[in-house]
Structure formats: structure tokens, C-alpha cells
């Protein structure tokens, strides 16, 4: 035991280390992630961020969402919270830390991933016996509900909402939770987070797993059909998580990612909220076989 002189005080640890979509993170902002150790590729710090530069996009209400290019950095402004995103450092300018953490681990992290030459899609992925099924679709299409239905059958969560891939085209695990609107039923009871949704913490898969199939839930698909070639590519391109082009080479990387997925993975289209758990299980079993 070390006895410290009275004039020395041990300060609380302010840097927390975790892994988010495969990137090691040290953060001054408390992130709702499991702590881990290892090399950090991204440092999250508090600081002053000025919303200026080349305006890439903003919503009609300029206070809601805006994105600026500022040299090599990207400035993201959302609900009055400002983030300055560079490949190795994210500066957070926020008074509401809960909302800042919620935005950082999802939408802002897609920009961090882009800075690390990784593209992401909008979807959920669940794993069973080493094989992953990815369910893509816009908000409200039922992807998280379908993924959770599989989890209740013994599958494990790989990632919810944002999907990104490693060099071998495996889905990289995301934060260990799923989020649902409280109105979805009593299964999602609890206190809503900063985004107004309730967090559910299912069993998770902590390692990347090969994809057995991708199901895209979108209104243009009347029934569940296998998509191929350019139809599959077009459907996948509509599911890019953040369509903004914030970093050089993104159009190429999206082209390469979509081409590789269409070339190697069976891709299905289905109407929103149309697939039963049995259908999803059947798709995964057929494709694995």
C-alpha cells in the first residue's frame, strides 16, 4: 500500500478508454461503453468549436443540423452541440453531455469512420453460430425490431443502427445496446435516453463475423425477393448511413464496398416490417447452406 503525503490528492481518472466500431477511443466525455485497454486511434476531448468553414449541408432549421468542411476537419452541429472531427481527435463543445455522447457514438461516429477510410450503412446485424444477418432500412422500417426478434431466438447483437465492415467484409461490433421508441410496447420499458428512445442491452457478439445475408427493408420491394447485380447495388447505395461526402475518396470506397457486398453476399429486398422471424431464419439457413 502506498501512503501519500497529505498535500497530494489522487484525482479521478478523466480519460476513459473503450472501443467503438473497431476504433480504440480515449474520451474526456463519458461514453456509455464498456471500458477496455489497448491502443487508441481517436481521442475525444472537450474544447471550443466554431461552426464555420465550407457549408456542406444544413437542414431547413439551421439550428438542428449542419455540417462544415474546415480544412482537414469536419464540423458537425446538431441540436446546438458542436463537434470538430479529425481522424485522430474529436473536439466536443457541449453543455449537455448525455446528448453529446448519444450523438457521438452514432451519427458523428460515421464521420469519424469516414475519416478512417471506412464507410457505413444504416442497419442492424445479429449473429448466430458465427454467421451474421444484416437487416438494412430507413428509420421505422422495422430493422431493429426484426433483429431483436432474432435475439429472442438466441441470436446475439453485433451492431444496431450503424454498420461498418472490416477488410474481410465482416460486420464490426458496435455499441452493446439497441434503442427503441417507448411506444413500441412494454418490452422496451425504461427511461428514454437523450434521443428519446429506450435502451435494451441484449447478448452481444464481440467479434466480427462473416455476413451470411443482407436483407434490405424498403417500400419499393413488394415482397421478399433475392436482388442481384445493379438492382442490389442500387438498393445498398440507398442505405449509406451518412450520404454526405466529407472526406476524399468516399465515392470510390462506397463503390468498392457495395460492389464487394453484391459480389459476395446474398442480398434480399423486402417491404418494411414485412418479414417474420421464421422468414429471416430461413434466409440465413438457405444462404449458409
Amino acid at each position: 500500500m502506498v501512503v501519500l503525503p497529505k498535500h497530494i490528492t489522487v484525482l479521478p481518472v478523466c480519460y476513459r478508454h473503450s472501443i467503438l466500431f473497431g476504433l480504440g477511443v480515449t474520451s474526456e466525455l463519458e461514453l456509455p461503453l464498456r471500458q477496455s485497454f489497448g491502443p487508441a486511434q481517436v481521442e475525444v476531448v472537450f474544447g471550443h468549436v466554431v461552426a464555420e468553414g465550407v457549408l456542406l449541408f444544413q437542414t431547413d432549421d439551421p439550428h438542428q443540423f449542419a455540417c462544415y468542411q474546415q480544412g482537414h476537419a469536419v464540423i458537425v452541429v446538431w441540436s446546438g452541440i458542436r463537434f470538430e472531427v479529425a481522424p485522430e481527435r474529436v473536439v466536443v463543445d457541449a453543455e449537455d453531455h448525455d446528448t453529446a455522447a448519444h450523438l457521438l457514438v452514432s451519427a458523428v461516429w460515421s464521420v469519424v469512420l469516414a475519416a478512417h477510410q471506412r464507410e457505413s450503412l444504416h442497419g442492424s446485424a445479429v449473429e448466430h453460430k458465427g454467421h451474421t444477418v444484416a437487416i438494412l432500412g430507413a428509420s421505422g422500417s422495422g430493422k431493429s425490431t426484426a433483429a431483436h426478434a432474432l435475439i429472442k431466438r438466441g441470436w446475439r447483437l453485433v451492431s444496431d443502427d450503424l454498420l461498418t465492415f472490416d477488410a474481410d467484409l465482416r460486420v464490426v461490433p458496435g455499441p452493446p445496446w439497441m434503442r427503441f421508441l417507448p411506444s413500441h410496447g412494454d418490452a422496451w420499458s425504461g427511461t428514454p435516453d437523450a434521443g428519446g428512445k429506450v435502451r435494451v442491452q441484449p447478448p452481444v457478439s464481440s467479434h466480427p463475423a462473416p455476413i451470411a445475408a443482407i436483407v434490405i427493408m424498403a417500400p419499393e420491394h413488394q415482397r421478399c425477393v433475392r436482388l442481384s447485380g445493379t438492382s442490389a447495388a442500387a438498393a445498398l447505395l440507398q442505405q449509406v448511413y451518412n450520404p454526405l461526402l466529407t472526406h476524399p475518396g468516399q465515392v470510390h470506397r462506397r463503390f468498392d464496398l457495395v460492389h464487394a457486398l453484391v459480389d459476395r453476399i446474398p442480398i434480399y429486398g423486402a417491404a418494411p416490417r414485412s418479414l417474420s422471424v421464421d422468414q429471416l431464419v430461413r434466409i440465413s439457413q438457405e444462404t449458409i447452406a
Partner: protein, 88 residues
């Protein structure tokens, strides 16, 4: 006349079709099976006559129909700048 693919256009075959990326407009485009066959000939330096001959060999189509299809597609590819004349 023969043609070539300009440097800002990238194409990949995918399951008998072709995905195209135009980095000048940042647009993605697709060609179906017939379009992919025509693209393969034109992008390989062949002429429109070569593409017509290729189509009549691969598909059950008359030379007149094949020529009309090739010319329609060629016109569109030239208009979009996805293919250009190889003439000096």
C-alpha cells in the same frame, strides 16, 4: 469509330451487369445484361458495328434491332460522358 472510357469513369462487372462510377458528377449508374455486353465491346476499344455483331451472336435479336439498341445506348453513354471517341 471506336471508343474509350475516360479516366473519371470507373466500371465493375457484377453478376452479368455493370456498375459505373462517374467521379466527375459523383454519380453511380448501372447497365443491365444487354447494356453490359455493349459496354464490354465499346470499353474494350471496339466499334458500334462490333457491338451490334456481338449482340446478334449472344442474344436472339435481329441485326436491325441490335443496331437500334446499340445506337440508343451509345448516344446515352456519349451524352453522359461515360464513353468518348478514341479518335485522335
Amino acid at each position: 469509330m471506336s471508343y474509350r472510357v475516360p479516366e473519371h469513369v470507373h466500371a465493375r462487372p457484377v453478376q452479368g451487369e455493370v456498375m459505373i462510377l462517374d467521379t466527375r458528377s459523383n454519380r453511380y449508374l448501372g447497365l443491365n445484361g444487354t447494356g453490359a455486353a455493349v459496354w464490354a465491346v465499346l470499353a474494350g476499344g471496339g466499334s458500334n458495328a462490333d457491338a451490334v455483331a456481338d449482340l446478334t451472336t449472344r442474344f436472339e435479336v435481329t441485326p436491325e434491332t441490335a443496331e437500334a439498341d446499340v445506337m440508343r445506348l451509345l448516344e446515352e453513354l456519349l451524352r453522359l460522358g461515360l464513353i468518348i471517341s478514341a479518335a485522335p
